[in-house]
């Protein structure tokens, strides 16, 4: 990149001439703040050469105003009073650079997010805006000439989580020639989608559309697939992450096992005895198992918790005998891998709400109360009943009640709408009706079907004669108020559209459990140094304009780890995350913030306070000279060392003590 001709260089700072540009932001600012009075005030401030206002400073003509003034030599420093720097700092820095000045000769005053949007009174707002402008003006006069920093971006990518989001992101990247490390905690990839029978609204078979992608992952030359593995450490920074991955022992060698399943057949346990997690506990598995036939990789796993050999050491080990490939290795232990990647895509997914937290719905108390995920397994041809919907006693349900919003939209549990439950409840209603001919009642608070073909699907379900009751279910019980209720579960709800309480006896209750962040979301977030809301969904950089990136450059989000979403949205987001990661990698470098710390050799007293404080080990100490120095490549620019330095030797670019003192004076310069 050719460096533009700079009017001022480190040596020739020249006379400071500040241009102040106050944005109206339509009426967003001007509706509250008296912009002309702010401009008038700004023009009285020291070193201010030009003060202007404009409807939209971020627009091309707005930026052109700045560039022109810079080119004309009217100004050599720029202050824009508009929105938050988190919004448009980059825009205006670029404009400043285009005008021929260092991009860092710029400062922003946030008079929208911090003033006009949050202040009730116009006079107060104007006064506060002036103070913020005064602070920015004082500060920018002190800004120093800085070279922008660049960091190289490594070419490989890590994708964490191999549900449909992770799979899609990994395949997109791999197809573009990037090497992808795909890490999955479970023994197979596929995630929740692999458990479903059909998907709304098209009712295409989940396995039919997912398994080809799963095997593509397995065979792709650019994908290193690590299942039964998790990320235990992330180090480094944007473009250069070192990720440590732990592989849990399967006690079967992945490279040898062919997935013939002969060992399972030969296990000393003649029948499954332990709850099969994949089938939500609706069937039993052996200590050696494979979650489902199309599991990827098709490698069996031994569960040491239940395997007789691990528990007692006494077992004829018929499994080993059965294996023609000698794939068993009971001595396996955890192993670790460390890889260097340039970008990370997080696709860690969700968990479903634990229905036993709502005892009023009787889950765990009445055997015929199921969660939606359990019903998905019952409907699945590869599920515990081979796709037959039957109750735990083997009988067929004649009346089925599906309760929406379980755990969602509820101040006692999760406040949010889980977005997918209305649609999947309609899908389940259709499927159980088709398979069993049962009468199906759906109990909903509000019907939410925004999405392509979704309302049409709702219409189809209505035509099929599924009963829709608008009312949140108050309780499920086996109390019989009349002979018809005897022997049934009774669902009690107000049918709010008729204004009466209804008691509907059913044989099977299905709880449409909502979506929740993974229980360890907070740990994962800390590991990757991104943020999340109190509830645990990962926070995107901007809810609208940067929905797949995070505040940590190089870490992207895909799928439900960011919030509830359905499969189409998840896949779209995964594609977007892959594209953004790719854009970063293909460029090959990242621009970094210039705000690193540095230590003035003269002033350093050699007290070493800073050395221990730096969380990134960026400060080293020269024992001979008794001076500390900062490695600006490692420095991330937090300024902790600067705040602690007793002699004022440590300083931070763009946040020097002088700059902040002047900003303090500025905000206190009341008018």
């Amino acid at each position: 990149m050719p460096a533009p001709e700079l009017a001022s260089t480190p040596s020739s700072n020249g006379k400071v001439k500040i241009g102040v540009y106050v944005c109206h932001c339509g009426l967003n600012i001007a509706g509250k703040v008296d912009v002309s009075s702010v401009v008038e005030f700004a023009s009285t401030l020291p070193d201010v050469a030009v003060a202007r206002d404009y409807k939209f400073m971020c627009s091309d003509p707005g930026q052109e105003l700045i560039e022109q003034d810079l080119r004309d030599g009217l100004v050599n420093r720029v202050v824009v009073a508009s929105c938050s720097p988190l919004m448009h700092e980059a825009t205006f820095r670029k404009a400043t650079e285009k005008g021929g000045q260092s991009q860092f000769y710029f400062q922003m005053a946030s008079i929208r997010e911090h003033v006009s949007w949050v202040t009730a009174d116009g006079d107060h707002a104007t006064e506060k805006a002036k103070a913020l402008v005064a602070a920015a003006v004082r500060r920018v006069a002190l800004h120093e000439y800085l070279e922008p920093r660049r960091a190289e971006v490594l070419p490989d990518v890590m994708v964490v989580g191999a549900g449909i989001a992770g799979i899609h992101a990994a395949l997109t990247l791999a197809d573009a020639g990037k090497h992808v490390y795909l890490v999955e905690r479970e023994t197979t990839i596929g995630g929740h989608m692999a458990k479903f029978d059909k998907t709304f609204p098209t009712l295409d078979c989940s396995a039919c559309i997912l398994t080809p992608k799963m095997s593509a992952v397995r065979s792709h030359p650019n994908i290193t697939l690590w299942t039964y593995s998790d990320v235990v450490g992330v180090e480094g920074f944007t473009g250069d992450f070192t990720v440590r991955v732990r592989h849990r022992p399967r006690y079967v060698r992945e490279d040898l096992c062919t997935g013939c399943l002969e060992c399972i057949e030969q296990c000393i346990h003649k029948k499954g005895k332990f709850d099969d997690e994949w089938n939500e506990g609706l069937s039993k598995r052996k200590p050696i198992y494979i979650p489902f036939p199309q599991a990827t990789p098709a490698v069996v796993v031994v569960d040491p918790e239940t395997c007789i050999w691990f528990k007692t050491g006494k077992c004829p080990q018929t499994c080993i005998e059965a294996c023609e490939r000698d794939a068993f290795d009971f001595e396996q232990t955890e192993t670790f891998d460390e890889v260097k990647v340039g970008a990370i895509v997080l696709a860690t997914g969700f968990k479903t709400f634990d229905a036993s937290k709502m005892p009023e719905y009787g889950y765990g108390l009445y055997p015929n109360v199921y969660t939606s995920l359990e019903l998905e397994r019952l409907l699945n041809a590869a599920g515990p009943t081979g796709g037959v919907v039957e109750l735990r006693d083997g009988s067929k349900p004649k009346v089925i009640g599906i309760i929406h919003c379980v755990g969602s939209r509820d101040a006692k549990h999760n406040l949010w709408c889980s977005k997918v439950c209305c649609m999947y409840s309609l899908k389940l209603a259709h499927m159980v009706k088709e398979r069993t001919g049962a009468e199906v009642y759906n109990f909903y608070i509000d019907m939410r079907t925004p999405g392509k073909g979704y309302e049409e699907f709702y219409d189809k379900i209505l035509r099929e004669g599924v009963h829709m009751v608008r009312g949140r279910v108050a309780g499920v019980s086996d109390e019989a108020a009349s002979p018809e209720e005897e022997g049934h579960l009774v669902i009690r709800a107000e049918d709010t559209l008729i204004g009466s309480v209804r008691r509907i006896p059913v044989d099977m209750v299905v709880l449409a459990v909502g979506l929740e962040p993974q229980p360890d979301a907070q740990d994962v977030r800390r590991l990757f140094n991104i943020s999340c809301g109190g509830e645990g969904w990962f926070t995107e950089r901007h809810p609208k304009l940067a929905p797949v990136s995070t505040f940590t450059d190089g870490v992207f989000l895909a799928g439900t780890c960011q919030g509830p979403k359905d499969i189409p949205d998840t896949v779209a987001q995964a594609g977007a995350a892959a594209a953004e990661a790719m854009a970063m990698i293909d460029r090959g470098f990242m621009m970094l913030e210039a705000n690193t710390a540095h230590i003035d050799d003269e002033a350093c007293s050699g007290c070493k306070t800073c050395v221990g404080l730096c969380p990134f080990n960026a400060i080293s100490f020269d024992e001979e000279r008794k001076k500390a120095s900062v490695n600006e490549v490692l420095c991330k620019g937090c300024g902790v060392c600067v705040g602690a330095c007793p002699s004022g030797a440590a300083q931070q670019h763009l946040f020097t003590d002088e700059e902040i003192f002047s900003e303090i004076e500025g905000v206190l310069a009341y008018v």
Binding site: V118, E127, S531, F616, G643, F655, I664, L668
Partner: protein, 170 residues
């Protein structure tokens, strides 16, 4: 909404406290942006200065603010364990505790300086804390430093105490 969050307009007292806030870029400043996006009205008395991390807050910033005429100082950082720079907020906390001890010696009430953990998603906390702090400081009245000077708390050569630890001493 303005009734629910009494700004200084609604109260009879004519004293408008001046509060300088230091917000970390990743959590509290972002939360303040969120408060803005959500149009949460709060007292205009709090004026935020953006720092990359609450750990950057030098005690001298606080002293300087008080000396320059602030009646209170608010520091906002990420929740413990959530620091974008791993543990800058712990540094802020340790420094803050010491700072409070020192301020007590100057006769500055504890309520005038406040450290709050506000995460990026807690826009409502920004509103609440700013309003609370404004009311608290308003109740305390203008800051009068141990050695009073003309005007209220303005930088002045008659304030040896604060000045000694203040900016000029560096």
């Amino acid at each position: 909404m303005s009734e629910a969050s009494p700004g200084p307009v609604a109260t009879p007292s004519s004293f408008e406290p001046r509060i300088v806030a230091f917000f970390c870029n990743w959590c509290t400043y972002t939360a303040a942006d969120l408060a803005g996006i959500s149009r949460m009205q709060y007292a205009p008395n709090v004026r935020a200065i953006r720092l990359m991390c609450s750990g950057r807050v030098d005690p001298q910033f606080v002293l300087s603010a008080l000396r320059e005429g602030a009646d209170g100082v608010l520091i906002g950082g990420c929740h413990p364990g959530d620091c974008h720079y791993q543990e800058g907020n712990y540094n802020a906390l340790r420094r803050f505790e010491l700072l409070k001890l020192m301020l007590r010696d100057f006769g500055i009430e504890d309520e005038r300086v406040r450290l709050e953990w506000i995460s990026a998603s807690e826009g409502d906390r920004v509103q609440q804390v700013c309003n609370e702090m404004t009311e608290q400081v308003r109740a305390l009245g203008p800051l009068r430093l141990a050695v009073p000077s003309e005007g209220h708390g303005r930088a002045d050569a008659d304030e040896p105490a604060l000045q000694a630890v203040g900016r000029e001493a560096r």
